[in-house]
Symmetry: C2
Subunit: 344 residues, 2 copies
């Protein structure tokens, strides 16, 4: 098995390294139809970070297809998922298009345009099956590769596997889909799970959420098969918890992004702890937290900021579960991955 040592454990270097030229279907016809139906004069376009630079060309194409009185507005806000809609722009436009993620919650206002990868997953799956000795296998992938999911299932069944799939919960649109914060689609009756997709961001979360399962990564983008290894990650989490045990002042972050708010969890902490302060923000960044004179932080927003970006913050940042360990409410061995369920 090839091991990509240089990126192992460093999630920032994975996932978006696009080695192939990709052609996307922006579903312009569907957008133009909505513009006409609603007599729209303002159309908002939101792209995830890695695709923002495609925005102007998409706006150009839409301008050609729409009347001159239609203004296109590109969201310049950071966007890391369907949980992260630009609500300002959404509320001020007649048609709001969110590209690159599958719907977290259906809305008449929002047009979700998934952008599917054109990478062929089967060559790397051919390598992967050599590392899947058991008859039962779970299969998961990301929104980007959902268009080939049924084919993947068939392909595995042709190779005599008993393929286990499910749609996790209502935060997920599709059967077999995983998000950075939700691996309920892998709650299946198999000890090995095949993740097909680019990067290690999703499978590392998956392996942390399901420590009892072997998570095999078939990465068609970087053309590599690896087993998700959570060791470095877990060491880092235990380290953060230990460093936070001495904290006197806690900053409790409530994230204001539409799909990342967990106010009850934040308020519960504040109520129990006189030395905890509720801090609200949209982007959770090292700069913003440095403004506050705290000894440690609990992040009730996106768990991946806590676990993946944690070392970049000047003080330890914990998930709500890790906080309970640090303050002694729970034993150290209760440490687990922080997941999000439901929509908003």
């Amino acid at each position: 098995m090839s091991q990509d040592a240089s990126t192992d454990g460093d999630l920032r270097n994975t996932g978006m390294s696009l080695k192939h030229d990709r052609e996307w279907d922006y579903e312009l016809d569907r957008i133009v139809e909505a513009v006409e139906e609603r007599d729209a004069t303002r159309v908002g376009l939101q792209f995830p970070e890695g695709l923002k630079r495609r925005g102007p060309a998409v706006a150009d194409d839409l301008r050609e297809l729409c009347d001159d009185d239609v203004t296109f507005l590109l969201s310049g806000q950071p966007c890391y998922g369907a949980c992260d809609l630009d609500t300002y722009l959404m509320r001020r436009t007649d048609v709001f298009v969110h590209f690159g993620h599958s719907p977290m919650k259906e809305s008449e206002k929002i047009i979700y345009v998934p952008l599917f990868s054109n990478v062929d997953p089967f060559p790397i799956m051919e390598d992967a099956v050599e590392e899947l000795p058991e008859d039962d296998v779970g299969l998961v992938t990301t929104a980007q590769h959902m268009n080939r999911f049924d084919e993947m299932v068939e392909w595995l069944e042709e190779r005599e596997y008993d393929v286990h799939t499910r749609r996790g919960d209502d935060r997920l649109t599709h059967e077999g889909q995983v998000l950075g914060c939700n691996y309920a689609s892998a709650d299946i009756d198999a000890d090995q799970v095949l993740y097909v997709g680019g990067g290690k961001f999703h499978p590392l979360g998956l392996a942390m959420e399901h420590p009892d399962k072997k998570v095999l990564i078939a990465d068609p983008v970087n053309n590599v098969v690896t087993v998700a290894d959570t060791e470095k990650f877990l060491k880092q989490r235990y380290g953060a918890v230990h460093r936070a045990m001495d904290a006197e002042k806690w900053g409790v972050i409530f994230c204001t992004k539409i799909g990342q708010g967990r106010m009850e969890i934040a308020e519960e902490i504040i109520e129990d702890n006189d030395d905890a302060y509720l801090i609200t923000m949209d982007e959770v960044t090292p700069d913003r937290l440095r403004n506050f004179d705290m000894d440690a932080f609990v992040n009730t927003g996106c768990p991946r900021i806590t676990t993946d970006d944690g070392p970049q913050f000047h003080k330890p940042m914990l998930t709500p579960g890790e906080y309970r360990i640090a303050v002694g409410d729970k034993p150290l061995d209760s440490l687990s991955f922080d997941t999000f369920h439901g929509t908003w």
Copy 2:
């Protein structure tokens, strides 16, 4: 006259270097009264960047004075002025307190708590008058020093000056007040203007807006008297305009902060220029703009981001007026400082 060469022209190093311990009056009684009057259970507290770390202690004091069922939420969003209210927090709290700036627009919902400097301005004004040879002098200061403004006027009058003051326009709360984006209070009939306050941020804007006047800085925080020198600044602006003249693709930034939106100006540019794209965001940062494949940017939001932070962006960023020069609509010698008027 002492010249502080190390910070000259670099606005980032000025203004907030607090050389004195300061005691602030947070007007807790006024806040507690509003909490009781409105039976508030959620209270939002917003501090400017330089004072954010005081937030937790203020929250502690308020907790002691209020019932247990009141939750205090600290805004973790960046805040650079009264134009920059945390509207998310404001809309979701019963009482919303904005510290450190004077009201840009009165609202029943918002309690504005000015935080006045306790620095004595008169010793440095004593030095400054040696550099004010004429009988007529304009006087301006910032919100921080407004509490001593009348005394300053009297002090100058005692020294036989004819002191000219005015309240600029409705973006400003007080007579004699200037903002980073508004110097209408210096539209007075005198060739010399005395600015009393910390740093060079405000007086450099003032000197650019009023190039015909001598702007003398009496800085009681850094204990220094200087003449505002806009030369470096103007060279930088002309440089940015020249570099942008070759631009084929323009990003036109509309800032979504409540007091920084100028949509008509942004839309006017988009309508005239097929190679211009409207991009919306709250914080205008180099990282966010790097996502877009543009040759130059026009910022219709805070002019100080354009002029002061301009060199930090990967592509030239212009004010709307500078854009008109770059595309040939206006002559080069029409270059002037970009100011904001009105509220929202």
